[in-house]
């Protein structure tokens, strides 16, 4: 139960950090920022790694879902960061 309270504390504090981070973003950066934060949300790959490679009792279905999760999260991360970089580089050349 203590760990849950601790986790909840971290959750709320991180929410505030997230709110404070975004202020006065120029409209041209909206799409790259969205794409960048989307790539960061691929952090769920950490959970996917646990599902795919855990040593605990695992039925085949759970293992297969773990594989799917790792694949999907990798697509999200790799494509997300590459595409954000592409978009931002385009702005640089223009400006």
């Amino acid at each position: 139960m203590d760990l849950l309270v601790l986790s909840f504390t971290i959750f709320i504090l991180a929410l505030f950090v997230g709110v404070e981070l975004i202020n006065k973003v120029p409209p041209t950066l909206h799409t790259p920022l969205m794409s960048g934060t989307n790539a960061i949300s691929g952090i769920v790959i950490v959970g996917a790694i646990f599902s795919a490679g855990s040593s605990e009792v695992s039925p085949t279905l759970a293992h297969a879902l773990g594989f799917i999760a790792v694949t999907l999260a990798s697509i999200n991360i790799v494509a997300g960061f590459l595409v954000t970089d592409r978009m931002l580089n385009m702005f640089k050349r223009k400006g």
């Binding site: 997230g18 909206h30 949300s41 490679g53 009792v57």
Partner: protein, 277 residues
């Protein structure tokens, strides 16, 4: 070792914070993105070092497959199709959360452990948000590409959505109280949540899709945070809530830039209000 792994998660989270901060200014945006990518690498390596991980074959196969598809998608997509790509990546991330939550639950129920209420609620949140992000983003992509027209039956969709919502609440109650006795509850819950995602986005007009995508982006972050509660992983919680909160603020900023209010975007179609636009 355990402390080292947790410190690595902290390092990753700091990289993400500085990265997002950098991405809000044109001059530092490219470096911010690279910093965030570095943070992701640190987090992945830290997760791989965990003692619990024994089989690397599946993980490496999934990473190679996903990474390959990712590179291909990022290179191939035309610059004009970026909003669609971001929306579909968003849906893919939601799908990943959904898969992780389902897999974890199957693991636990196979092991025969009786889960606590807080844990069950975290699983439900992870499944629901992940599924809504998955199907909601799919609808958004179809609308952005023009494959799916605006619905003239917003009211019917509203009814469907309301029914789904009630169904999800009922299924969630069963899930918390007696999930282990009826394993069928998992597919039922997943199915209802998937339908709910379609019902929530379908009545919204195509022109408002960028805002919807930004909101779904925030959802996928929150789904990650919920997964963090399931796995009791602080790194996931920090990063997920960070993305969730910044996504919500970004949504509000975009709404303001388009001169619209968020409730109007979300429920304008369903309520039949034509006062806007």
């Amino acid at each position: 070792m355990f402390a080292l792994i947790n410190l690595s998660y902290l390092t990753a989270a700091v990289c993400f914070i500085l990265g997002i901060k950098g991405m809000t200014k044109p001059a530092t945006a490219v470096r911010g993105n690279q910093l965030a990518a570095t943070g992701m690498l640190v987090a992945v390596v830290a997760a791989l070092m965990h003692q619990q991980i024994v089989g690397y074959e599946t993980i490496i196969a999934g990473m190679l497959l996903g990474g390959g598809i990712g590179v291909w998608l990022a290179r191939r997509t035309a610059m004009t199709a970026m909003p669609e790509l971001v929306a579909s990546l968003n849906g893919i991330g939601g799908g990943a959360s959904l898969a992780v939550a389902s897999s974890t639950w199957l693991n636990t129920s196979a092991a025969g452990t009786v889960p606590g209420t807080a844990w069950s609620i975290a699983i439900i949140a992870s499944i629901a948000i992940g599924a809504i992000t998955l199907t909601g983003s799919t609808v958004a992509v179809l609308k952005l590409r023009g494959n799916l027209g605006d619905s003239r039956r917003a009211r019917q969709w509203q009814g469907v959505t309301l029914l789904c919502l009630l169904g999800v609440v009922a299924a969630a109650a069963v899930f918390v109280s007696s999930a282990l006795e009826c394993p069928l509850i998992l597919p039922v819950l997943v199915g209802l949540c998937l339908l709910l995602g379609i019902g929530l986005v379908q009545p919204i007009g195509g022109a408002d899709m960028p805002v919807v995508v930004a909101l779904l982006n925030a959802y996928s972050g929150l789904a990650g945070a919920a997964t963090g509660f399931v796995l009791q992983n602080q790194g996931l919680i920090i990063t997920g809530s960070l993305v969730g909160a910044s996504g919500l603020i970004l949504t509000a900023v975009m709404c303001k830039a388009m001169n619209r209010s968020l409730p109007n975007v979300l429920f304008g179609g369903a309520l039949g209000g034509n006062d806007a636009t």
